[in-house]
Every structure is written in C-alpha cells, then in structure tokens.
Point group: C2
Chain length 191, copies 2
DNA sequence: CGCACTATCTTGTCAATGGCTAGATTCTTG
DNA sequence: CAAGAATCTAGCCATTGACAAGATAGTGCG
C-alpha cells in the first residue's frame, strides 16, 4: 500500500498548499500549524520552511494563488455573460468554492501583503473586477461610475463574508448563489 | 510611582479586555497571546484564564462587548436621524472606531459563537439593524424589503471590511465616513 | 564518467504559547 | 471571627514556529 517514502517528496510545495486548503476548511485559518501541514504531506516538520520561509510565507503563497483564481473566475464570467451582475455573482461563487483562499486573502495580518507575487496577482484580480464593473450601464451607475464600482464590490464582498460567517438569518434559504443574484439585483434595479 | 501591586488586581477582567483591544490593534487578532495580555495587565500568565476560561473565551467576551457597542451605535443613529442611510454610516463608523472588536466579531472560528452572552448581544445588534433597515422607504426598497435589508447590510459590511483591509484604491481619498455615505447613497438612489 | 554544486529534506534544539494543577492570598458572608 | 469562595501565583507539560547542522538526491560541467 504505502510505498517507501523517498527522500525527496517531488512536489512538496503543491502538496503543502493543498494540505493548507484542507486544514483551513477544517479548523479555520487561525489554527493551521505548519507542523500539521508537514504531517499531512508526510514530511518532516521543517520541510515546508524551505519552500515558504515561514508561516506567513505559506499564507502569502496561498493568498497569491487565491487572487489568481479570482482573476480567472471574474474574467471568465465577464467574457461569458457580458453582464456585470454575473461578475458579481462569480465573485460570491469564488468565495464559496474557495473559502480557504478567501479566508486568507482579505486578512493581510496573516501574511506578507507586499510580497511581489501577491501584489501582482491582486493587481490581476483588481483589473478583472474593474473590467466587470466598467460594463455597468452608465444610466444605472449614477453620476460617478467609480462610486458605483465600490458599491458593487462592497456589496458582493460583504454578502460573501456574511454568508460564510453564518451571520445571515437562515430564513433566507440555502442557495447562496441565487440569493446573491437577487441581492445584487437590488443595487442597480431600474425603478 | 508604581505602587506595590496588590495580590488582587481589582478589575482584571476589564483590564485584560482593554489590553486585548490594544494588542489586536497592534498585531492583529491572530497573533494576540494570553500571556502578553497578562503581562500588559501586570498579572501572572494564568490569571486571565480564571475570568475567561481559555483564549477563545476571552475573544468571546470581546465579541459580545462588540455586539453590544454596535447595537448601541445603531440604535443611537436610528433615533438621531430617522434615516436608514445614516444607520449604515453608523455601522461603518463603528467598524472603524472599534476595529479590534469588529475584527473578532465576524470571525467565529476565533471564539465560541454559541455562547449565550454573545448570542444575546448579537441578537440586540441584529434587531437594531433590522429597525434601521425597516425604515427604508418601500418605494426605494423594491418589492422584497428583506432583500433590500440584506443588500444594505452587505454593502456597509463589505465596505467596512475592504476599507479596514486596505483593499480599496487610495485614489478614493482618506475620509472613509464620507466615502461610505456616498457609496451607500448609490444603493437606493432615486433615478 | 566523475565531481562539485545546489536543492531538498531530516534531525535536534530553543523560546514562546496555551492550558492544567496545586497552592497562596484576599474577600465575603454568616 | 471563622469558613468558604473568589482571585491570583508558581510550576509543569505538550505543541508550535523558527533556526542550525547535517544527510540525501538531483544537476550541471569538466
């Protein structure tokens, strides 16, 4: 069954990141331990440090991966539907499908927010979001398109956060994506 | 200057909570240590445990305090202005003025979210928020007032979170309260 | 092929932390 | 004043993050 573990793991970096995703799903981002991730990956407790430096470095890599995934998801939604509302829904869907990444990305006290890789990935995601928001019909967006963009981002981000925290009342149902679509529709609904 | 420290602190519970607020402001909620708080309060490392049980218990107390403060702030704004928009602004102002509390309240993995005290306080805040949202003129709220409420909450919560994270672009200025008011105005603006 | 060089991983160690237990001190209440 | 409860201290242990030194495996270059 279990083959003899070779001295070199072969793909430790990816394995630790995957283990981190699972561990954060189970115990939350505050309680992950590097040593536990090392155990999950089947290596010694100090092996991950070589790839990530320290714990914050690991979470930095996870945040960068998350921003990349987010940028991809937003760009895909934008190209698929040409509908800014669906870009917002895609934002929420990303948060739900990648809750571990999402839980780290917007917690800059957990990682190195100025790391070049994470900065670049965040920039990509930010551009994708701006593109989606830029497609808001100006008649619906009000006089200042920038404000409308911040409002849209705030709304979907807040909704995803509140839903993931279990802060929203249960009467709202169990389909977060449909609810997100309905809530987002409130923002720019024509009267 | 420094009088001899008596065996009994006298007000250790409050002192530790206050120290926690400061510590979280400095290093973030993930890195606070009970022992550091004990040092700040001038007591032995095990003293706080008597009042809070464990670390999660301390953060539970902090979250409960936060929900109480939030309920007060929302109720005051509601009574002062009778304007749901100002209730939203008060939500953002609370998050900015009590960032340590805010950083813990919506992170249920850090504390005991089912603790009776925190449940009650959260209920109070939720009621205050509902009252504020209930005052949204139905013409502006759309067909489903509940959806409008979730949208409003999501918007102010998301804005506060993004601002505190430094995720919003700096071109938006340095007055978060004014910006929050402008962004919230987008939500229910008449055409 | 062989050898140096580098990347990867292990083992051992240390200080700091959270949590527990036993005991000391002070307050309270009858 | 006495007994018990509340509060705090001191000591201990397992776990963690970080570091250092060394072992192993892959890589490139003669």
């Amino acid at each position: 069954m279990t083959s003899v573990r070779p001295y070199h793991h072969g793909n430790l970096r990816e394995a630790v990141l995957a283990a981190a995703v699972n561990a954060i799903n189970e115990v939350g981002p505050a309680s992950v331990s590097l040593r536990d991730l090392a155990r999950r990956a089947g290596v010694s407790h100090a092996a991950p440090a070589h790839h990530f430096g320290d714990k914050a470095g690991l979470l930095t890599a996870l945040a960068a991966e998350g921003y990349d995934l987010l940028a991809d998801a937003l760009a895909a939604a934008q190209q698929r539907t040409q509908d800014f509302l669906e870009v917002g829904v895609a934002y929420v869907r990303f948060a739900l499908e990648h809750r571990s990444h999402f839980a780290v990305m917007f917690r800059p006290d957990l990682y190195h927010p100025d790391d070049p890789a994470v900065r670049a990935a965040r920039e990509r995601a930010s551009d994708a979001l701006s593109t989606g928001i830029g497609s808001i019909p100006s008649g619906r967006a009000g006089p200042d398109a920038r404000l409308a963009g911040v409002a849209a981002w705030s709304l979907v981000h807040g909704f995803a956060t509140l839903w993931l925290n279990g802060a929203l009342p249960p009467e709202l149902g169990d389909d977060p994506e449909a609810l997100a679509r309905a809530v987002a529709a409130v923002l720019f609904s024509s009267p």
